[in-house]
């Protein structure tokens, strides 16, 4: 029985399309140090739906410009390369999973939750390091992707899991998944990241996003630990302030040693949370994930 479930999940992962070509091309172009606005514009302009999203975002009230942005090179100047990459990645991955089939979970709510986790995790990283911010955003977007694979391939078992955690409030989602399916959504999600050839570091963060690293305050923490803890805490924050809707809405404690990674004091936390909420609202409004 267990074998069959695993087979179904593996088949589900095999069936996921590779990352869309446009995301791949943008990633490659931006990975190149001598990237030019024109080179990235050319890639975006070949994709009409992405072109219109980029222009809509640049013209949204969030950026508050007084004149209209009507070309992609100008939009790239306004938004910056990282925002363009995040927009392409988020909307394209969303398209892959937003199929019109009935699933025992609120897929749009879960998608917004993932976006909320990505935005929250990114804002916890204080280092102003664009590469780290990029990585943490991708992990946030993908952290719950395993839930969608499970929902699409073994929906009956997912229903059992959801019933189990509803009836037993002390049981964590991961424990219920282990008991009923044999695999957790975090483990399944890390397999998706591997299929898309993301670095091992990122698939590990997805795999362990429910178990943060404990940090020794006397040693410098590694970038991996910082990313890992940011995704853990970002996930809890997204649940606490209801950015989207996770399948398990309960907030786990963020251990003091995990929080030490971010250098955000108790006094600064409310301001950080309000900013996350405002960023989330403006992204949802302007990115138009429909």
């Amino acid at each position: 029985m267990q074998e069959k479930r695993i087979e179904k999940i593996i088949k589900g992962i095999e069936d996921i399309p590779t990352l869309p070509y446009v995301v791949f091309r943008i990633n490659n172009a931006l990975g190149n140090d001598s990237v030019t606005t024109n080179a990235v514009s050319e890639i975006i302009e070949k994709d009409p739906s992405l072109t219109s999203r980029v222009l809509r975002l640049a013209n949204s009230s969030y950026y508050g410009l007084s004149c209209r942005v009507d070309t992609i090179p100008r939009a790239i100047t306004v938004l910056g390369f990282n925002t363009i990459r995040n927009l392409a990645f988020t909307t394209e991955v969303f398209k892959i999973f937003n199929k019109n089939i009935s699933l025992p979970l609120d897929i749009k709510g879960l998608w917004y939750h993932s976006l909320g986790c990505a935005i929250a995790s990114k804002s916890l990283i204080h280092k102003n390091d664009p590469i780290l911010e990029e990585k943490v955003f991708i992990c946030g977007i993908l952290h719950d992707i395993g839930k969608i694979i499970i929902a699409q391939n073994i929906p009956d078992l997912l229903e059992e899991v959801l019933k189990e955690i509803k009836d037993n409030r002390d049981l964590t989602l991961c424990d219920a998944e282990k008991n009923i399916i044999g695999y957790t959504h975090s483990e399944v999600g890390s397999l998706v990241a591997e299929k898309w050839h993301f670095p091992k570091e990122l698939s590990n963060i997805i795999r362990f996003h429910h178990s943060p690293s404990l940090v020794n305050p006397f040693i410098d923490i590694s970038d991996y630990t910082l990313l890992h803890n940011a995704v853990y805490a970002g996930n809890q924050i997204a649940k606490a302030i209801v950015l989207g809707k996770s399948t398990d809405e309960r907030v786990s404690a963020i251990h003091p040693s995990t929080r030490n990674s971010f250098g955000i004091s108790e006094k600064e936390l409310p301001e950080t949370l309000f900013r996350i909420k405002l960023d989330f609202d403006s992204v949802v409004n302007s990115w138009e994930l429909e």
Binding site: V242, V251, L273
Partner: protein, 113 residues
């Protein structure tokens, strides 16, 4: 609203009050988005601290009284979201801010009908 030293201002912050010169003349009006030239001009006029909008101000203009009442309505629901009752200082702040955000969302929805 919060008051911050002029050297900590960044472009894009919104002034939360009028800035007057020592003679009472209006230098920059409330609601102005700060940019490099506005900041430089304030420094030239010897302004040390200025009021800027905090993230909370940007949400919705509800009175503290309204928000507190809405928090009472939302309290149980928000608390029910936590696996454990928040006890350590940081989790308490997370809970209290989550409650405030929920209350403001509640008021916003009610206003929209």
């Amino acid at each position: 609203m919060k008051h911050i030293p002029i050297e900590e201002t960044v472009q894009g912050m919104i002034l939360a009050g009028d800035i007057l010169s020592t003679t009472g003349q209006l230098l920059v009006a409330k609601g102005t988005a700060l940019n490099g030239s506005v900041i430089k001009s304030l420094i030239r006029h010897g302004i040390n601290r200025i009021p800027v909008q905090s993230e909370e101000d940007k949400m919705e203009p509800f009175s503290e009284d309204e928000i507190l009442k809405a928090e009472e309505i939302c309290r149980e629901r928000v608390l029910g979201r936590f696996y454990e009752i928040p006890s350590d200082p940081m989790m308490k702040v997370l809970y209290e801010t989550a409650l405030r955000i929920e209350a403001m969302e509640y008021l916003r929805c009610r206003k929209k009908g």
